[in-house]
């Protein structure tokens, strides 16, 4: 394979020996999986990536690796369950449609498609599946429509997509999405029509302008004008409609916005041109009018596409819950769709599955992972009578529970509501452009009026044309391109460096950040616990205690067991079993040995109190007595200190905001020597940020968990780090795709730089307009010069914005 065929971006920065060839994650130490692709042995990080890569090679699809511009998702091991849902034809018919030929079309939400090469890979792989007639993927929406032959199940095709490492959910239509699609089509129609009109009117205009200079037959001039008129009129009415509507609405509210000046210029220029055409004398501005509409629509379209990356926000949290649950009906367990289960029903939740309802346990005990709500890595022990919540994960054992509320009354839905509310209540970052526009419009209108009045007293025949020339010259075309062009450039740069931008206001606001709120768990700290401290009884040494604990923990997948995986184990520990929610027990030389919570171990012998409250302590005891306390703690990410230092250097004051307990947050905060707020619920976090904002601070929020989502939505600018959940990513203005906190200062740098470019653009555009006005007022600017000036100044603004693409990352 010729190396030049690989995208430059991948070959330079991403493909290194320490990264997985398939998913781009860091290679775990000691991992030696490889896959031979196109004659070269490539490292892969796990067996999952290896099998996907082998499958891609087996199907002759290795072109995927040469063509991709982003890494595909890391395959998870819980694939497989989803596919079987699609065997239930009744359930599928709830969201599938039928096409004209009577074939079933199954719409799917496929998460993990990161670039267009992924869509190609999936289409190719599905073409090999029996019974698949057509595959239609929309990358923007992560939507895949599968057309199937009659009486064929979608399950094998879904299984195929999952084997490639993508996650599949049924796609349910959403009014907001339909609306977005309709809007998108409307915008493209208007933009395209304006473009075509601009080209044709421009073509006629060249002849007319040349005629102005060289002389032109009067009939010919009349002909060209008469044929330009319908084009310009159509463009103004069809494509330019939205300007008039906006201007009218804001006029009713007694505001002047950019669209006010746009509408005024369009109306007057078109009207005067028509009049000149009918009368056969005077100036026509058909080319300027169409060009003006096209440029403005283009700028808005670019800006809107940035915002549409927000479509992710429409990924509904409800879709993350299991679609099927086991319900007790007529004395037996039946698998039924989640939507049909009423409040009060008895359901069984198997170990390892996410919980679909808010419910009360009536039989069994287990632990639930509630990181979604609390950000807490250590699961909560639950037993009969305890409440469990939709969206959390049942870890250890199967439990039976009574559904206590419908989805819309659940804690998860309440969290989603908080997010929506926070988003609506976000203080609008003042639109730089509209603030300028209001004054600008007033100045231009006054200048045009003054021109008209001036000429009235001097030479009335020039009054109208000179006033019009003022308006056309002052057309704020460059002015309105200034911001979107710069934002689009900065967004493209960030995207190339693994940062996705969802909200353009975030990009503007980041330059003004004075205060930074940072989540602790998973953001500043590693998601995994590590063995932090140890307290020993007199009769054992440290290594023995750890080896003993490892022997008990090696078969457990509890987060508290992870630090022990891969350590040397002590031989002779037998009959190891897990006691859900309590710990592990086994047999050792002196009889029973236990590892776990204080209460569980105290059943065997007396246990002293744990040394402190910072760590998560687990006890190790045997029949003879207490052996050790093992303290598991969080470790800071390696780049956390640098992040804090760099934020402080920029003059932004960082603060940790966490749902975790006081002592643990204090422990981390003291390592970084920054203030903190602990034990904060999502509502507390929201209150804190609103307090800061009312004190005049501009806040940047950084987080990863669902419990941070309201915080991220309320902040002026927000960042979701690599480990963040889909919903959190969707709420944030920026989503970072690699485990690198130092991209945050880079992001603030480029934001400052973007601000500078926008300011230059605005100064230039406004300056050009203000200088042009006196000349136009004096009658020195013919229509062709106005058109050329407008194009050139717009071009300059766009080129200036393109300089952002060459932004260099400053070494921290």
């Amino acid at each position: 394979m010729a190396p030049r065929r690989r995208p430059a971006f991948l070959s330079k920065t991403l493909v290194t020996a320490e990264k997985c060839f398939h998913c781009g994650d860091d290679m775990p130490p000691g991992c030696d999986y490889t896959v031979e692709i196109d004659g070269e042995d490539q490292p892969v990080c796990c067996i999952g990536c290896q099998s996907v890569a082998l499958m891609i090679r087996g199907a002759d699809l290795t072109a995927f690796y040469r063509q991709r511009t982003e890494y595909p998702p890391t395959p998870t091991d819980d694939a497989g369950e989803t596919a079987s849902w699609f065997d239930d034809a009744n359930w599928v018919s709830g969201f599938a449609t039928t096409d004209n030929d009577g074939h079933l079309v199954v719409p799917l939400l496929v998460t993990g498609m990161s670039c267009a090469a992924c869509t190609w890979l999936i289409e190719r792989a599905l073409n090999e599946c029996d019974g698949v007639l057509d595959v239609d993927i929309n990358l923007n929406l992560s939507r895949l429509a599968l057309t199937l032959e009659t009486n064929v199940s979608a399950a094998p095709a879904v299984a195929m997509i999952e084997r490639l490492g993508y996650q599949v959910r049924p796609w349910r239509t959403d009014d907001r999405l339909d609306q977005l699609r309709a809007d998108n089509r409307r915008d493209i129609r208007r933009l395209g029509v304006a473009g075509l009109g601009m080209m044709q009117a421009g073509m006629f205009a060249v002849a007319l302008h040349a005629g102005d200079m060289q002389g032109i037959d009067e009939h010919m001039q009349g002909l060209l004008r008469w044929f330009s008129a319908p084009i310009a009129l159509f463009v103004v009415i069809y494509s330019g409609r939205s300007f008039f509507i906006n201007a009218w609405k804001s006029l009713l509210q007694k505001h002047l916005i950019m669209d006010s000046s746009v509408s005024l210029a369009l109306l007057l220029a078109t009207g005067a041109s028509l009049w000149a055409t009918v009368r056969g004398s005077g100036e026509t501005y058909y080319d300027s009018v169409t060009m003006f509409v096209f440029f403005l629509l283009l700028a808005r379209f670019v800006e809107k596409r940035l915002r549409d990356a927000d479509l992710l926000a429409l990924v509904r949290i409800e879709d993350r819950l299991p679609e099927f649950v086991a319900q007790r009906i007529d004395e037996e367990w039946q698998r039924v769709p989640r939507a049909t289960v009423p409040v009060g029903a008895l359901v069984r939740i198997p170990a390892g599955e996410s919980i679909a309802f808010d419910a009360v346990i009536c039989r069994g005990e287990s632990t639930v992972d509630e990181a979604v709500f609390t950000g807490e890595a250590v699961p909560r022990h639950v037993t009969e009578g305890d409440k469990i919540f939709a969206g959390t994960i049942n870890r250890d054992a199967s439990v039976e529970a009574v559904v206590s509320s419908a989805y819309r009354d659940s804690k998860l839905a309440a969290l989603q509501d908080d997010v929506d509310r926070a988003r609506r209540g976000k203080p609008p970052y003042l639109k730089l452009i509209d603030r300028i526009a209001g004054r600008f419009v007033a100045v231009v209108v006054l200048a045009a009026a003054a021109t008209a009045i001036g000429w009235m007293t001097y030479d009335p025949s020039h009054a109208l044309w000179s006033a019009l020339a003022v308006l056309v010259v002052a057309c704020p075309c460059a002015l309105s391109l200034a911001t979107p062009a710069a934002l689009a450039s900065a967004t493209a740069w960030l995207r190339r460096h693994n940062v996705l931008v969802h909200g353009e206001f975030g990009l503007l606001a980041s330059a003004d950040i004075t205060s930074v709120l940072i989540d602790k768990t998973g953001t500043l700290t590693e998601t995994r616990l590590k063995l932090d401290k140890i307290a020993l009884a007199d009769h054992v040494d440290r290594d023995t205690a750890i080896a003993l604990a490892s022997a008990l923990q090696q078969f457990s997948n509890h987060p508290a067991a992870q630090p022990f995986h891969g350590l040397t184990t002590l031989p002779g520990v037998e009959n190891v079993e897990a006691v859900p929610g309590k710990g592990m027990r086994g047999q050792w030389q002196h009889g029973e040995i236990r590892l776990g919570s204080a209460g569980f171990c105290a059943e065997l012998c007396a246990v002293p109190a744990p040394p402190d409250e910072v760590d998560y302590w687990i006890a190790l005891v045997d029949a003879r007595g207490w052996i050790a306390w093992l303290g598991l703690g969080e470790s800071l990410r390696p780049d956390a200190e640098q992040l804090i230092a760099s934020l402080k250097k920029r003059g932004a004051s960082p603060r940790i905001v966490s749902g975790d307990s006081d002592s643990r947050v204090a422990h981390i905060a003291s390592q970084l020597s920054i203030p903190f707020t602990a034990a904060a619920s999502p509502a507390d976090k929201l209150a804190l940020i609103q307090q800061l904002q009312s004190d005049g601070e501009t806040v940047l929020a950084i987080g990863d968990g669902l419990n941070d989502a309201p915080l991220l939505s309320a902040a002026e600018a927000s960042v979701a780090v690599a480990s963040a959940t889909a919903l959190t990513r969707a709420q944030a203005d920026f989503a970072i795709d690699e485990e690198n906190l130092l991209l945050i200062p880079v992001l603030l740098d480029i934001s400052t730089h973007t601000r500078r470019i926008i300011r230059q653009n605005l100064v230039w555009a406004a300056g050009y307009n203000l200088i042009g006005i006196p000349f136009a007022a004096a009658g020195y600017v013919p229509p062709w010069l106005a058109a050329v000036g407008m194009s050139l100044s717009s071009l300059l603004v766009v080129l200036n914005a393109l300089r952002l693409r060459r932004f260099r990352r400053r070494e921290p």
Binding site: T62, N140, L196, D217, M220, L223, F227
Partner: protein, 56 residues
């Protein structure tokens, strides 16, 4: 010069036709996914992966 009296109206018809075609294409969903299709159009290697692979 008289031919212009015919050619200019024809230009207008062409523009009308082009605009109609564009609107039809947009409404039939051909512009719904600008990212994917823009990328696909430029990567013709993917149309015939097997053949190209042999050349490498």
């Amino acid at each position: 010069m008289n031919s212009l009296y015919l050619l200019i109206p024809i230009a207008l018809i062409f523009v009308g036709l082009a605009a109609w075609l564009l609107i039809w294409a947009v409404d039939s969903g051909q512009y719904d996914d600008l990212d994917k299709d823009a990328w696909r159009a430029l990567h013709d290697e993917l149309d015939e992966p097997e053949k190209k692979d042999e050349q490498h």
